[in-house]
Amino acid sequence: METLKFDLDAKPLREVNQFLHGDASLLDGKSVVIENPNGAHNIAVGLKSDVHVTIKGHAGYYAAGMNQLAKVTIEGSAGSGVAENMMSGVVHVKGFASNAAAATANGGLLVIDGDAGLRTAIALKGADVVVGGSVGSFSAFMAQAGNLVILGDAGEGLGDSIYEAKIFVRGTVKSLGADCEEKTTSPEDRKILADLLAKAGHSDVNPDSFKQYGSARTLYHFHVDNAGAY
């Protein structure tokens, strides 16, 4: 497989991103390495071909945002909004991720090996997110579809005003948000969890060690008794 190298100390990020936005038929199956990312914003955003991008260090804000098809690996940490609004493909952060990882993501898989910040998977719309460490407060806020798997702990207000996304937590939850409750895991959900653990490189982790959370569906329609919860 052909590997192309870009050094962000020598080449402007805009040129690298423009290259990555090129004709999909020329990029499919190619490997691209980005050296010296040094926390730059918007690295590898808007990709739309089956290209493999490896970022050799720490990325800034919105890395791999709006991703489609591509596989992006960040060898360091990621700033706010990694894989935000991802449509498909795989984004793998080997370090930690800052706030709002996978915000509004529609599809694809985001794997974070370390911790993730506040508002992880906020307004998730169908993507899968697997966090090897813990997540900050207000994660999965108003999450509509998709799965958030947390191997560590969750902060305050987990799943506040959640719709139909599923949350699996192995550690402790500091507090649940409004209308989020613990669920019993069905065989189908257990399979979803086991598959995601395998895809994220955690096949050694027992799916039965997780608790599942989801919507109590009491806020779907306005009811005067719930006025205080809105």
């Binding site: 010296n36 040094n38 926390g39 730059a40 260090g57 720490h58 800034g60 804000y61 360091g76 940490s77 700033g79 706010s80 370090g95 930690f96 800052s98 706030n99 911790d115 910040g117 506040l118 900050g136 407060s137 207000f138």
Partner: protein, 298 residues
Amino acid sequence: MCGIVGLLVRNPKMRDSIGELMLPMLIGMTERGPDSAGLAMFGPSVAANERKFSLYSGTADFNWTKLGHDFEKHLSIKAKVEPKVNHAVLTTSLEPETVKIWLKEHYPQLHLLSVGQLMDIYKDVGTPAQVAERYDFKNFKGTHLVGHTRMATESAITPAHAHPFTAGEDWCLVHNGSLSNANSLRRKLQYEGIEFETDNDTEAACRFLQWRMREGDDLETALNHGFEELDGFYTLLMGTSNQLALVRDPFGCKPAIIAEHDDYVAIASEFRSLAHLPDIKNAKVFEPSPKEMYVWKL
């Protein structure tokens, strides 16, 4: 927006180049804060009976020599004045209250930026690179520092509105964020006899901590009161004679990233300001949790 940077040099051999290490950190935060910049530098101490007074004149043609002569003539006491463009550091053994009264009476146009034995403050409008060049930040020597790049969102762009702010001797604070209850805090604190120099929201946070510490709080207790009373978004970085301290608001709205290394501790709003630091690959890089206090001592 705004950018913050902090650097505490643990390796004594590297302290002579703290200015050089810091400069790319400050410039790295230009996009976050292009309109003004400031730096509090903790350098070698003056003699035990002396204090340094960081002064700002506003104009480059200010006659600092005359100020020194007037001071010595009127008060019959020695003073050293070291000018740097429109800033100067006045060193004297006269007690601070007398110096403040004298300055107010004879040089009301001067701003007193800080008082202390270790800390000098420089702040001005301009891009971080321009401000750093103006005051030769690159050649500063010392143990630790706190810097700021400002993008004004709630009050005017003037040197006085730039950060750092001080709340006592050898004590300074910079802020990234915005406070929504700065005006009510200011009114409340004015009743407590706390004086304000600007309508800046960061100054309100700074004066709040100053008031709490006046009332006997240590820094940690003061900051815990701050979590209850400061309404808004903030990452606050503080410098004292022998430490740096950092807090983020409970919602983690404003960023911070930390690199801990055997030789140094570096703090910035974003990793871009830390990337150039020596051996950064072997530093422990992490994001501080909201509503927690982080302290690094010399």
